[in-house]
Amino acid sequence: MIGKLIEMTDINKTFPNVRALEGAQFDLYPGEIHSLIGENGAGKSTLMKILYGVYTPDSGTILIKDQEFKSLTPKQAIDLKIGMVHQEFMLVKDLTVLENIILGFEPRKSFNRINFSATNEKIDYYIHSYGLEIQPHKKVIDISVGEKQRVEIIKTLYRGAEILILDEPTAVLTPQETLKLFSILNLLKDDGKAIVFISHKLKEVMEISDRITVMRHGKYIETVRKSQTSIPELAKMMVGREVFMNIKRVPNTPGDVILTVKDIFVPGDRELSKLKGVSFDIHKGEIFGVAGVDGNGQNELVESLTGLRPIEKGDIIFKGHSIRNLSSLKIRKTGIAHIPEDRNKTGLNNKFTIKENLIANLYRKKPYSKWICLKNSLIKEYAEGLIKKFDIRASGIDIPVESLSGGNAQKVIVAREVDLNSELIIASQPTRGVDVGSIESIREILNEVKKKGAVVLLVSADLEEILSLSDRIAVMYEGKIMGIVSASEATELNLGLLMTGGKAIEKE
């Protein structure tokens, strides 16, 4: 057997308040795809960032090509031919793709000018030999997410990487784009490059990897060959117990129309009309899913429904009345609750305590306040009740929300919004960046809401979530609804095609 490229042993790393890694280990052979899996916060990214020199480990040894290191710097890592594609892309928006690729490693000619022609050749080589299709002269701001990712990969190759670390590369891709990425990765592998694939999507991991290392709570659990394991086994190792991620759709009997969206046009942050004529009806007693790749207008749709973004044209009718361009407070009063997409920016006030966050909808109502005085004892009682009811794990209700884990913070929002017993709950990415246990319980809660007869408008980029909960699914692409399919007709393939602007395959 060929020697190991990388061997990391007994890596420890502590952040203030958190032990991120405890005796973690990892190894890598040339020409293999080695997946690193685990729940959010299991320490996958931390371990790889140590390898790439972003973090310094507290203790442990890193062996790269038989050289021993205590810690690395990114510069060293690049010199050792390690490249990393981060979860958030590290690109300069206003520069062209080409400029981004050569940034920091520009080939020079006389008078210190940049030798663009030499670079072009090199980049052409990557484009052709690995199928990394990019447009080198477009600005990064104008290219798609998938293309940005390919740019990141070329960037690492350009810097001479033999070892590629990809941190959750498929999180932002459609199923079709994911397939394309996988074929690229296989080509790279055949060329002898070693690839670390970080993910928590087990299906993808089973598809692409040669070996799989599982981490849980910062600890190394096991490394297995793909041929000797299965998805349920991996899930069990990841979570530490059996998981039943198959939350079943509750059968429904659709009632009257409760919400009608009529041909709305809504401006985006940059575009004049981000939503270009969106229409749909939602019936009582259903979960209406909105699928689509992030940034195709879902956010603008949710914001216009909840009064956070003005509508230019069209109308929204809720329970027979127009709620077009009402203030968010008035819309809330008509009986619409909202779980926003970005919990840190919008959904929570991170510096407020758990109690203050939980009371945000009710603080100005009786009995929680009288005139302007807040009734602290009643608020406390209410908050404690919610914490119990929704199983929010916190050491107290008077600690700031920012000290909670992602899952528990999200549950604070879910608890606050669901407890209003609103007739319509607009849930936008309700389980993004949340641990598996919380995902399960949040989906369960949404199903409960539906059983009680309320309506959920579920916006999610996670197809599995959409498919497992929704009764009907609308797919958005570039500010339009490409199609609305019922749950029985929906398949990942069908939705995936709609998500990229294609037509669904008609059922024979």
Partner: protein, 340 residues
């Protein structure tokens, strides 16, 4: 965390005194005697204590005004202007209204001063909330405008015709009762304390405070939850302006007895300093303000009795500020590490 704040401030105070002491020793004076004179000059005797309190009141009120605007995330440098306009408003009511009982008169003076301060502060507030105009620029410019307006008023329409630019003296009914005579300390002290308690209650125990703090900490969250973040921001600014106006009124009614042109040489900026050192923690503001007031009023006695120049106290204050802000630097570093 909160406990730490107090300990850190205390340590900063002690270290700055130690460093000051070393400098005094190098200069050839006895540090212990110098500091004892400093504290005697600030506390011993009605006059000395009164002088300290007299400096304390405007300091603590302007610091509070700054803190209230900070609660809605507006960096209000304009407290000085609000103070000036509040002062001249109080003086005008003070000398032009006659024949009402003292409590009513005082109330009217203070009311108008607060309204004028609030309205003045509303302008940069509206510019910031609705038009995203940087409040630091507007409030700094507004300070000059406010001071010049009062200069004009005091020289022409409201002039007392006394050869110096000042208004006619206010009626006795509008004067605040003096305590600790012969100093000029007055019952404004109790008004200030009451206002601190009131603002603390308002911010942390009422729906209004919930809104203000919510907007200051996260305007996106506030809009989402149904709080009009823009209106609330203007409201917070107006509250801040009202407190600034009150500070001016107390200066006129308790200390000078009339409005003097350019009477305040940056009181509000010292107040802002106190608020920044206290990191906008309302309970820390009186402590820091008192500390600054003690140093300022005690330095006079210190210079007189020991010959150590008064400016040394400014050096100690400066050192204190450096230490207090350095601590902020450490905190900032920590946070960055956490985030990384």
């Amino acid at each position: 965390m909160k406990k730490n704040d107090y300990v850190n401030t205390l340590i900063s105070i002690i270290i700055s005194f130690l460093l000051g002491g070393i400098v005094i020793a190098i200069m050839g004076y006895n540090p212990l005697e110098t500091f004892s004179q400093l504290f005697q000059g600030a506390f011993v005797g009605n006059f000395n204590l009164g002088c300290t309190l007299e400096k304390f009141v405007p300091l603590v009120l302007t610091a509070l005004a700054f803190t209230v605007s900070s609660a809605v995330s507006v960096f209000n440098v304009g407290v000085e202007g609000e103070l000036y306009l509040g002062a001249i408003a109080a003086a005008w009511v003070g000398f032009s209204v006659v024949g009402v009982s003292s409590p009513v008169h005082i109330f009217l003076c203070i009311l108008l001063a607060m309204v004028v301060g609030a309205l003045w502060a509303a302008i940069p507030g509206i510019l910031k909330a609705y038009f995203k105009v940087n409040e630091v620029c507007t409030t700094i410019l507004f300070n000059s405008v406010a001071v010049l307006i009062t200069s004009y008023l005091v020289s022409y329409p409201l002039s007392g015709h006394l050869g110096v630019p000042q208004t006619p003296p206010i009626a006795d009914t509008a004067k605040l009762f003096r305590i600790l005579k012969p100093s000029r300390a007055n019952i404004g002290l109790f008004i200030a304390i009451a206002v601190i308690i009131f603002i603390y209650w308002l911010l942390f125990h009422t729906t209004i405070g919930y809104k203000l703090r919510s907007v200051g900490l996260n305007p996106n969250f506030s809009d989402y939850i149904g709080i009009d973040s823009k209106k609330t921001m203007v409201g917070g600014m107006m509250l801040s302006g009202a407190i600034g106006g009150l500070a001016g009124a107390i200066e006129v009614m308790g200390i000078y007895g009339c409005f003097l042109d350019n009477f305040s040489i940056g009181i509000a900026f010292d107040g802002m300093l106190a608020a920044l050192i206290a990191k906008n923690n309302i309970l820390m503001i009186p402590v820091v303000s008192l500390f600054l007031a003690v140093l300022k009023s005690g330095s006079l006695g210190m210079e007189r009795f020991t010959g150590v120049p008064k400016s040394l106290i400014d050096a100690i204050i400066a050192m204190f500020i450096i230490l207090a802000t350095m601590e902020g630097l450490f905190l900032f570093k920590k946070q960055r590490k956490l985030r990384a």
